[in-house]
Amino acid sequence: MYSDYAYLIVGLPVLAFVLTIFLGWHLPKGGGFFTVLATFGGFILSYGIFKEIYPNEILHQSMHWFANFNVGILIDPLALVMLLMVTFVCTLIHTYALGYMDGDHGMARYFAEAGLFTASMLGLIFSDNILQLFIFWELVGLCSYLLIGFWYRKPSAAAAAKKAFLVTRVGDVMFLAAIVLLYNNLASLNLTLPPGEYLLQFKVIYQNVAAIPPDQLTYIALLFFGGAVGKSGQFPLHVWLPDAMEGPTTVSAMIHAATMVTAGVYLVARLFPLFYAAPSALLIVAYVGGFTALFAATMGLTAFDIKRVLAFSTVSQLGYMMLALGAGAVVGAASVGVSIFHLIGHSFLKALLFLCAGSVIHAVNTNDMREMGGVGKYMKYTAMTMAAGGLALAGFPLTTGFFSKDEILVVAWEYGSATTDFIPYILGILGALLTAFYTFRLWFVTFTGEPRSDYHKHESPWIMLGPLMVLAFFALFFGLGAQEPFYHYLESNFEHYDVNFEALAAVGQHHIEEGEAAHEPFIIKILPIIVGVGGILLAILFYYPRFRKLDTRKFTTENDPIRRILLKGYYQHEIYTAWFAETVVYGIALLSNMVDIKIVDATLNKISETTVAFGGSLRKAQTGIIQNYILAIIFGVVVLVVLIKLWLEVSI
């Protein structure tokens, strides 16, 4: 019964968007409850569908659109868990926003855009073909632009929005190129499709991947990955994510947890059979993921802005998800489950962390951790929930983050032992250590010690604390309860499409691992625990006033080159913005502008000038004296009559 209304999962938030944007100004709280209710309705529907089709069915509805394209809804295990997560987390974030955004003049605009953002992400998830997915993908990009630049009167927010849009655009162009290339290759196979199946549907793509020439396949996979790199903030297109902190904190929570950056991981997971058949692409996925995981974590060490620390941590965690997918070269489709499990767990805990940070910012009115300190005394609930999120992110045993990250590292180790390439694994382990460290640096600096500035000492309202507690519960216990069935459920994802992974492995020249990979040494099993707990302990020694044994000043000084590189974020601003954007791109823009004015426009101007001059000389024929016109008419008629008469005479 719920399945018949699957389209409403997107329809309700869109409806909320329309209602809020037109009527929100006249309603209390900017009509935000429309968005909350619509998203919650989406969750109810998704849950109903989950009850109906779990564990052996998928839901597929599709109709013809134009030419050989279609629009459709595909809810398989992969899409289903994403739908549940997005609707659930977004409902909580929107509820929280009712409290957080209270009093802002743009509340109606905020909730309208947030509703559209949710709708686009949900549409992206349940698309049954790559073209429809791309349309929603672009919508997600648009909404992120609108929301990051929500306080558009602030120049830094406007600049951040523009940066996010332009940087993700680089990825989007690659995505579009990948679709074109894929379509070309599929079309050249001359498939005869049964009615109801279309060329760009995932099912058709999965089944025909093996027939595409391997070199083409590698290009396609790399271009798709380029799109994912842009959206999911992987190196080198991660620069927009920390800047995206200019938006309201709830927007950051939405972007980082549920609606935007997960899209890239989802895309790679969705097209996993295609990547599986292109081993060099998968290798790049693993390396980019591993490198990003460590790279972003190092930048998180020195940031002072509470939200920027969390942003770097998101980039880093997304790197882990990509790493897990890349390791799929060895473990096969199981890596999708591992990656998506981390994605879901990360959504809970990152939404939680951002909302906690928002709660702190709400009270303290600054993002700078150097001005906080001792906040925990006045905000007990926020401090506790944030500690829960921090533990989960750091991978403290038995929390959600522990299970998911542990599994990713195990997969990375298996990848290493099968290919003797342990670099991704090492990057992952180092990243995990740093993750635990910077998370608790954040927590201790913010919540313990003495207040370092004069801020409002009050706890946030219950409408904000409620979602925090729900999220804290999930961040701590989701992994414990759901891990095993989750892996099994997602591993079955590609069985619904008869994807022949052995044939694909032959195309991709993978080693198919023999037997269960339960033979990793003991040290590999406990190493994630050691680095997780070790990172937390280090943070305690450095930053918790009561146990402070180590002083940061002994290890680094103001002039330490490494510290300065990290503080400057590896000079990314200098390289990307100051050098690349403002020198190279601006120079090219100037050159193009000159070509445009001097050549293209000049030609057109010359043509139009000639036409105008010619018209000016013809204009003299119009004397404006009626008598002249009448004489001309009489003359013309006489000539006509004479001619017709003559013609009649001659023809007779």
């Binding site: 204009r619 003299k620 119009q622 004397t623 404006g624 009626i626 008598q627 009448i630 004489l631 009489i634």
Partner: protein, 100 residues
């Protein structure tokens, strides 16, 4: 019965008068009167031909044409009055604001 040729002769004489007036006059009112004469010469032709054939189409058509001529005269006069208010003259040679 009056022969058809006389009607046609009358019509062509009226047509020639109208045309002559249009070509020589400058006054807006006179020009409009000439236009009316031209139209009426055509109407005479229509009615005459229709009377000499067992067919009333021509007469119906003439009725339409008269109604149209009335409307045209109304609009034309209104334009001329406005022109007079603006320029203080209806000599069309002097009304040349949009001429090159």
């Amino acid at each position: 019965m009056i022969p058809l040729e006389l009607y046609i002769l009358l019509a062509s004489v009226m047509f020639a008068i109208g045309l002559y007036g249009l070509a020589t006059q400058r006054n807006g009112i006179k020009l409009m009167m000439c236009t009316e004469i031209l139209l009426n010469s055509a109407n005479i032709n229509l009615v005459a031909f229709s009377a000499y054939q067992p067919n009333v189409n021509g007469q119906v058509f003439a009725l339409f044409s008269i109604a149209l001529a009335a409307a045209e005269a109304g609009i034309g006069l209104a334009i001329l009055i406005t022109l007079y208010r603006l320029y203080g003259t209806i000599d069309l040679d002097n009304i040349n604001a949009m001429r090159w």
